[in-house]
């Protein structure tokens, strides 16, 4: 995949406050870029189903949406916290950290 951009959105949670960010892959420091690209590659992101569901609905859990733009294609997945496989969990931790950092820099 020739990844250009990643759009991250977190909604839901008890507070229902949306946290979102868009990351241009080129703008990331090399180490972070490599880490994110490697994770996406390892989990075959483009092959994942668009909606991941866990066993039972969990009230007040966060709901994540990740859109990866690669070439002319867009791949999206939506998943609740409880439905995240380990590799996706790691990716979300990275993206969430970015989103929170950017959120707090905004004035």
């Amino acid at each position: 995949m020739n990844i250009r951009k990643i759009k991250f959105e977190r909604t839901g949670g008890f507070a229902g406050i949306r946290v979102a960010t868009e990351i241009e892959i080129e703008d990331l420091p090399e180490e972070q870029r490599n880490e994110i690209l490697e994770l996406l590659d390892d989990m075959d992101f483009e092959e994942l189903p668009a909606k991941l569901s866990g066993g039972l609905p969990v009230s007040d859990e966060f709901v994540y949406s990740i859109v990866v733009e690669a070439g002319e294609e867009e791949y999206q997945i939506v998943a609740g916290e409880s439905a995240l496989p380990q590799d996706l969990q790691s990716l979300i931790e990275l993206l969430e950290k970015q989103a929170k950092r950017r959120l707090r820099k905004k004035d």
Binding site: T11, G13, A15, G16, I17, L56, D60, E61, E81, R104
Partner: protein, 382 residues
Amino acid sequence: MHIYHPMNCIVPPHMLEEIASRGTAAQRELAISTLKASEQMRGQRRALSDFAGAVSRVAAVGGKERIVYDARNGSSLPGTPVRKEGDGPSADVAVNEAYDGSGATFDLYKDIYNRNSIDNNGMRMDSTVHYRKGYDNAFWNGEQMVYGDGDEDLPVSDRLFNRFTIAIDIIGHELTHGVTQFEAKLVYSYQAGALNESMSDVFGSLVKQRVLNHTAAQADWIIGEGLFTPNVKGVGIRSMKEPGTAYNDPVLGRDPQPGHMKDYVNTSSDNGGVHINSGIPNRAFYITAMELGGYAWEKAGQIWYVTLRDKLGSTSQFQDCADLTYAVAAELYGVNSLEQMAVKKGWADVGIAVGDVPVPPTEPGEGCLASFLRLIGAAPSK
């Protein structure tokens, strides 16, 4: 395969037990998990101890039974037990808040609505505090409450959230998700999900009002007061009195809740806006309670509780909830009683008319059972 709907259906427990003891391995597993998830329907607890792996969570003496666990910033649940029923206070404030808050919630349900815990059968109330690091959330996972510490991992000047046990209505909110799971089983999406959320806010707020001995007029009707740090411009997460006004902050944005149907938010995010559109039924409850005066948990709370316990179904919509609370008010206090008129006004003021339409049936019927049987391969496909 994603197995979802049995959770929200009423499949007779005896049938599940039959499948659990006689089915194939896969059928057994599904039936047991469904039993575990939805065993105590409408107060009818079924014994699960015959099945391997099932854990009885009924309190030994049928009274209040709490355990608070510490996840020690990890994500394994439930974590290490740190305070059990009857133990003295801990040195850890989050542990004590989880303990006291679940106690106050138990008391509201027991003393006012004669409900014995989450399942009405003495279910132990388990809470885990210090979940993960920098975790800005609390949730109910189908079995227990879980609380994060907010932004404890950031410098003080960057923190937006305090620990999630800080507001007692959050604890009442999470426990009420458990009550809803055993009663109306409102699916967690779109309007049914917003009703699920609203019920949690209603009874969460009532827990707080009762602890403070506040009348409807004295109450602040704020959900999550104290959860924001002083860095945030806001009084709390939601306002039941004036949805959309709880916060307006340069970093977090503005409280997105509508307080009227004309402002209903159509979105697929947040499971279809369950934490957004809950503002509408929240305000209907607030107006009803204010119309009636006195303590909100007495009459308005009773009407909403009976509706949640006996009337709402898994796919109920706002209109259903309006019609059903209106019907319950008549059952409890009489047709055209002040109480029934207060309910009518509550919903009218948020743009929902009651009393003009017949009440739809709410109990899931054969369709549900048939679909479950198809799912496990015990009935022919359509």
